[in-house]
Symmetry: C2
């Protein structure tokens, strides 16, 4: 049995974006250091990390030195190249483990895994060519969404089809990548559950949040979400089932569609999740510390919610609203230290406290 | 008029201990970087700083390079050598400013300043030699405490006198340093106010906390403190008066004795303060972010208290209690990453949530 990491021990984080930055801050609260591995220069996480390695994911020497300098490895994004993982796994524990990555890196594998657990997912079919797509459209109907199986995020690599006449153009947009057709779900709103599982199997879930997207990117998450007591229980139970099935260690984000017929799992993310940022100001232990606790072999902390919160992402030019937002005492700002505000770039977020916890 | 610091700007912090560490974390939330200046190797703040300079305070070259790399300078302790300040001030704004340091570096100057504001302080007298001490004991009586005027903390450089027969030994313990004799105050308990003042003069105070010491070192701070409504108002008003008199920018700790006759100011600290650590889990904006907001020219945040909290310092071997403390969901841990647990060394603290905010 592994002992919990003690002060001075080092957590290696693959990826140096804002999630890595907030993981590094959480690690510091537990007396731990972070070593960030990131191909890009000047990563946001570098500002608060003990050490940064700037190297690509195919640099065997850099990966080896990184792994040997840390006690455990985790990551802030799920698309880590397989070869890098193959190497890292031989040197240090990687948490969450391979299974969670394999499942979440491929939308088809993910859907099959979730359906295999008896959870509700959208109707889906694999699409490798025009014949597959025609058959899938026959079976699933329109509207539907064609998505690349791998490497999509924030609405990228996705095309909506409202009639089968759009099939050819949609397939062309996939650039020959293996794809999946997903049937349209008539949902009233989307919620997500941020769930955590410790090394010893202990499970804890944060209260579900209700998400709104704009242009395919998460705009806001609000707690409490509009959910019945039964739905709330369902959400937490299904998240726990996913964690256990994956023998998961760390924080997992589960996106759910709320429909009159019940909850439908949209997708899972094997990492801290944008829709869990509200926990920084709504809970004593936030999703970042919960994740570090899990991967460091600590017991999970208390994720009970003490406030009603709306998290709003600050995207691109939204950063110019900071002076106004900062002057409002209801707002807690979390900026990522990025100096260039490109359109669509997540620059920070604001947690707006709307009152003490209550329905 | 200075503009508020924007993402990517850098706050220079003199001192790399746990206070610097938590200041660096707070700065990261606002998108700012920290550059730590610390003579000692491997400072706790270095784990979460963008940059660390390891150099003594008399290294003119290092001080200059440090100042030129940052946008504003602050500090985590008040005993910065005068010559270092003389230099740094010519290169960048130092906040809080010189006046606050001059007052708090010398117990005699501090007492005179506070008394000059019309605030209640213990009876005191300057003691440079045996004649002074004999006169002071005549005037003030026993019990009394003889303290070095400068460089004392956590009870160091202090001797209690219960009779004038102890005068010689007490004076010897001062090692020829200029001293001050302070009369005994018959207080029921000690509280402290963590107050903040922004660049534009805006003032905000956290709710007073009640302090318990063990062996001259702060052991616990509890909110709410035992104070009448009138005493609470007094505490906040007198802190505001001190801030304004010093034209202060940043967070200031004010220690107060509670007596039947009212509040008596014990001492002030021109920095974030151990007795304000509870704000990390009791408020949306904690003392560290409040300090960074002030020195970075931002508006102050909301310091309203949402929880009842007891902060307990983890000193020396207390660090061995961490596994048990971590398993209790009421506890939020804050460890400093120190690997060597010497007796009396502050290794971390735990904020125990005892309920939602209430008297």
């Amino acid at each position: 049995m592994t002992r919990p990491l003690a002060p001075g021990a080092c957590v290696g984080v693959l990826g140096g974006g804002q999630l890595g930055r907030m993981l590094a801050v959480a690690a510091s609260r537990l007396g731990l250091r972070c070593h960030i591995y990131e191909p890009g220069a000047m990563p946001p996480a570098g500002d608060v990390a003990h050490r940064v390695t700037t190297a690509p994911y195919d640099d065997t020497e850099a990966l080896t030195a990184f792994a040997e300098s840390v006690d455990v490895i985790t990551y802030e994004f799920e698309n880590i190249p397989t070869r890098a993982l193959d190497l890292l796994e031989t040197l240090r524990p990687v948490r969450p483990g391979r299974r969670a990555l394999a499942v979440s890196q491929d939308r088809l594998t993910e859907k099959a895994f979730l359906a295999g657990l008896g959870l509700n997912v959208a109707p889906y079919a694999a699409v490798d060519d025009a014949v597959d797509l025609a058959e899938a459209l026959d079976e699933i109907g329109v509207p539907a969404i064609l998505k690349t199986r791998r490497l999509g995020y924030d609405g990228k690599g996705q095309v909506r089809l409202s009639s089968s006449a759009e099939a050819e153009a949609a397939l062309a947009a996939m650039n020959d990548a293996p794809a999946i057709l997903e049937g349209h779900i008539d949902f009233s709103h989307e919620v997500s559950v941020i769930a955590a599982r410790a090394l010893d199997g202990q499970v804890a879930c944060f209260d579900p949040g209700e998400n709104e997207h704009k242009g395919g990117i998460l705009a806001t998450t609000t707690v409490p979400a509009r959910l019945s007591a039964a739905q709330r229980t369902d959400a937490v139970l299904l998240a726990g089932r996913i964690l256990n099935a994956l023998n998961y260690v760390g924080v997992l984000g589960v996106e759910l569609f709320v429909t009159p017929g019940g909850l439908i799992v949209n997708e899972i993310a094997p990492r801290v999740h944008n829709s869990g940022h509200w926990t920084q100001n709504g809970c004593v232990i936030d999703q970042f510390e919960q994740h570090i606790r899990a991967v460091a072999g600590w017991p999970l902390g208390d994720g009970a919610r003490h406030a009603n919160v709306t998290m709003e992402n600050l995207i691109g030019d939204d950063i110019e609203r900071v002076p106004v937002l900062a002057a409002d005492p209801a707002n807690a700002l979390h900026l990522y230290g990025k100096t260039e505000a490109r359109a669509g770039r997540k620059m920070g977020h604001v947690n707006r406290i709307t009152g003490p916890a209550g329905g």
